[in-house]
Amino acid sequence: MDVSQYLEIFIDETREHLQSLNEQLLILEKEPGNTDTINEIFRAAHTLKGMSGTMGFKRMQNLTHNMENIFSEIRNGKMSVTANIVNILFDGLDALENYLATISNTGDEGTEEYAEIISQLDVCLKQGLGEIPAAPAAAPVAVAAAAEEKKEATADNAAKEKFRSFKYADHEKHAMNEAISTGQHAYGITVFIQETCLLKAARAFLVFKTLEGIGTVIKSEPAVQDIEDERFEFDFSMVLITKENMEAVKKAILSVSEVDSVYMSEIKAEEVVMPKEETVEKKMETTGAPAAAAQAAPAAQEKKQAEKTSKPVVNRSVRVDIEKLDDLMNLVSELIIAKNGLVSINNADDTVKQNNSGFNEQIEYLERITTNLHTSVMKVRMVPLESVVNRFPRMIRDLSKKLNKKMELYISGEDTELDRTVIDEIGDPLMHLLRNAADHGLESDEERTALGKPETGSIILNAFQEGNNVVIEIKDDGKGINAQKIKEKAISKGTITAEQGEAMTDKEIIDLLFRPSFSTAEKISDVSGRGVGLDVVKTKIESLGGDVEVRTTVGQGSNFIIRLPLTLAIIQSLMVELGNEKYAIPLGSIQTIEDVPVSDVKYVQTKEVINLRGNVIPLIRLNEVLDVESSKAKDENLTVVIVTKGDKLAGFVVDNLIGQQEIVIKSIGKYIKNSKMISGATSLGDGEVALILDVNTLV
C-alpha cells in the first residue's frame, strides 16, 4: 500500500498523540493512581503504535510497543508508577519526537534504534512485574495475554477477526444455534474499510445492505446506530446467518468499493456455547474480585468504551490547507481593492456623486461585506495559543530536574487566538524566554528559602488580547535583572563605553540584553546562557511585526512582555504624502497627529525634538530618511505623526495627511534590499503602489 499520501496526516496526528502523552504523563507523575489518565495514555500509545506500524515505521512502532507494554501493565495494576519509570517514559517520548522530526524532514524514520531506551523499558517492565507474585490471578493474566495478542493487530490474521471477542446475548445464541441446525451458516465477519475512505458510514451501510440481501445480520459491533453515525474506526464486525457459502459472502462484501479487507470464519455450534461459559466465568470473578475483573474486561469492550470517552477529549478541528486559505485571503484582498477603487471615484468626482445618491449606499454596503468577509476569513486563520504553550509544562518539568530548582509553570489565557503564521513562529521565542526565566530568573531553592520566598519558584505565562494586539507576558518571581551588573558587563565587553553607561537609564541598559552576543550568566549552562537567546527572541518577534519589552524589579522578578499584531495580512493605516509619493503608516503604531509650529522645534545634541505635553519626542524627517523632496515651505507648520514603539515615542514629519485606509499588505519581494525601512507595499484603489513604512526600524 502506498502510504505517502497519509504522511501529512500521520505527522499531524502523531504530534497530537505525543502531546497528549506528554500531558497525561505529567498528570500521572503527580497522581500515580489516576486510572482515567492511565487509560488515556494507553489509548494514545496504542493508536500511535498502530499508526506507525501502518506507515511502515518499524523502529518507531517497536519503541512504542515497548512503552505500551509498560502502560498496559500499569493499567492492569501490575506495576506501580515510579519516578524512574516516568523518566524513562519521558525519554521514550523524546525519542518518538525525534523519530517524528526525522520523518517530517525526510519522510523516513531514520536508522536510530534507541536500543538503550528499549532495554531500559524492558528492565523496568521485568522489575515491575517481578515484584508482584503472578500466582493469585491466573485467569486475568490469561485474559491480559489474550488482549495483548489482540493488540498485535498488524500481523496476525486471527487478531483481525474482531468478531471473535463478541459476547452473545441469549437470543442471539439461540438464533445462531437454530440457523446452524437448519443447515444455514453463521459467519463471523470483520470488515476493514480503507483509511482514505471519506464516507465510512455510507460504505458500511452498503456492506450491510449487501449482506441483508443474502442473509440476516443478527449482531454487529459497533451497533448499527453507531455505524450510521460514523462512530467507528475503520473496521466493524458482525454475525451473518445465510445459506450462501463463505466465498460468496466474501465476494459480495468486497464488491462494495473502498472495502480494504474482509476477515471471516464460520461459527460452529460449539463455539456459540463456548463464549457463554466464559461470560459466566467472568461474572463469577466480578463478584469474587471486583478489581481484577475490571482490569480483565475484554479488550473489545474496553476499546469501545474508550472511543466513547475519548471523543470529547480530541480537539474538534478542521485542517485546512494554508494555501487554500491564502487564496481566499487574496480574493478578499481584491474585494477590498475594488472597494477602495469605488471610494476614490467617489472622492474624485462630486457631480457623479450628486447624480447617484445610491452610490454612497453601495459603497457602505460593499464596505460592510468586505469587513465581515475579512473578519470571518481571519477567524479561520486563527489558532489558539494553546497549541504552542501546551508543550511547555513538560519542558519546565525537565528544566526543574536538570537545574535542580523547584518551579511551577502557571499558564493562563491559552485560549487567546493568533494568526496561524504567528503561531507557527512564536514557539521558539517563548521557549527561550521560559528557559531564561527558569535558568537565570529563578534563584536556587536554598537562596529562595533564605530570602523568605516560597521554595518553589513560579513562572507565569499569561496571554490576552489588547485592542488589535495580543500580549503575551512571561513573568517570574526570581531575582530580577540587575542593571548595574549589565552595565559593568557591557562596558567590559566593549558594547558601550563607560561614559555612555553613565548617561543611560536603567531601562536602556536592560535593553542591551537584546543586543546580539550578550549573556550575563556567569556560568554557561546547557539550558541557556550562550548569549544567543534574547536577540534571537527580539529579531523573531520583530519579524512578526511585534515587539518585546522587559520590566524588572531587583529581588522580585522580571516580566517579559511580547506584543504581537492580531493579523498580518490586512491592517488599518494612515496614508501620508511626502513630496509626490504616498506612504502608509500602520494605524496600530500611531498615537496622535500634531500640528507643530517650526518655532517649537528644539535641539538636543543636534537632534531635533519637540516638547509635547511634557514628553520630549525626537523628530524624524521622513523626507530626508526616504530621499524625497519636501513639498512644504521651510517656515510652514510641521505635520507630525507621533508613533510609538513599545513605550518609546517618535515624531514623523510628513508633508500631508491623506486619510485612514484599510490596506492589504503585499511583500515587495526578496530582491530589493532597503535596510528594512519598508515592511511591504499595498496597491491603492487607482492601481498605484504605496509603500508601508516599518515603524520599528525607523524609530
Partner: protein, 154 residues
C-alpha cells in the same frame, strides 16, 4: 517548422534590445511581458531597482537592465517593455528593456561560451553568445543576475 520545435538540443529565447545590442532570455523564465507603467520608487534600494509596480494586484519589483549593466539610464519610449521573470517559483521580478524583438529557437551548438577571463563584469551575467544569421545575441544568465545580490550589499 524545425525552428519552432524545442528539442533537447535547442531552446527558445526571447530576444530583447538594449541600445543596439541584442540579448536573449530563456523563455522558461518569462512569465509575462507588459508595457511600461507607473513605477513606485522604493527608497534606499539598490540603484538599479527602479521600484515596484502593481501587476493585477501583485506587487513586483522592477529593475533596469541598463543600469544593472552600467549603461546610461533608459529613455521610455512606446517600445519599452517590462519582462516579468520568475527566477524561482515564489518570486517574480520585472526587468525593463528598450524593446522586445522576437522569439528565437537557438540550438545549443550555436551558442558559444563566453571566456570568463574577459575583463568585463557583464560577462558574469552572460551564459554565452548565440549566432543568428549575422547578428550576435548575448544569452543572459538569469540566475546570476539575481543571485549576486549578496555581494552587492556587502
Amino acid at each position: 517548422m524545425a525552428e519552432n520545435v524545442s528539442t533537447m538540443d535547442s531552446k527558445q529565447y526571447i530576444v530583447v534590445e538594449l541600445g543596439n545590442e541584442q540579448y536573449g532570455i530563456d523563455i522558461q523564465y518569462i512569465d509575462n511581458i507588459v508595457r511600461m507603467q507607473r513605477i513606485t520608487r522604493v527608497p534606499k534600494a539598490q540603484h538599479y531597482f527602479k521600484g515596484v509596480i502593481n501587476l493585477r494586484g501583485e506587487v513586483i519589483p522592477v529593475m533596469s537592465l541598463r543600469m544593472k549593466f552600467d549603461f546610461e539610464d533608459e529613455e521610455v519610449t512606446g517600445k519599452t517593455r517590462i519582462l516579468i521573470i520568475k527566477p524561482d517559483a515564489q518570486a517574480s521580478v520585472g526587468i525593463i528593456v528598450d524593446s522586445v524583438k522576437e522569439v528565437l529557437t537557438l540550438e545549443n551548438s550555436m551558442i558559444e561560451k563566453v571566456a570568463k577571463d574577459i575583463d568585463d563584469e557583464r560577462a558574469a551575467y552572460l551564459s554565452g553568445v548565440g549566432k543568428h544569421g549575422d547578428s550576435l545575441i548575448s544569452i543572459l544568465n538569469i540566475a546570476e543576475i539575481f543571485m549576486e545580490k549578496e555581494v552587492e550589499n556587502a
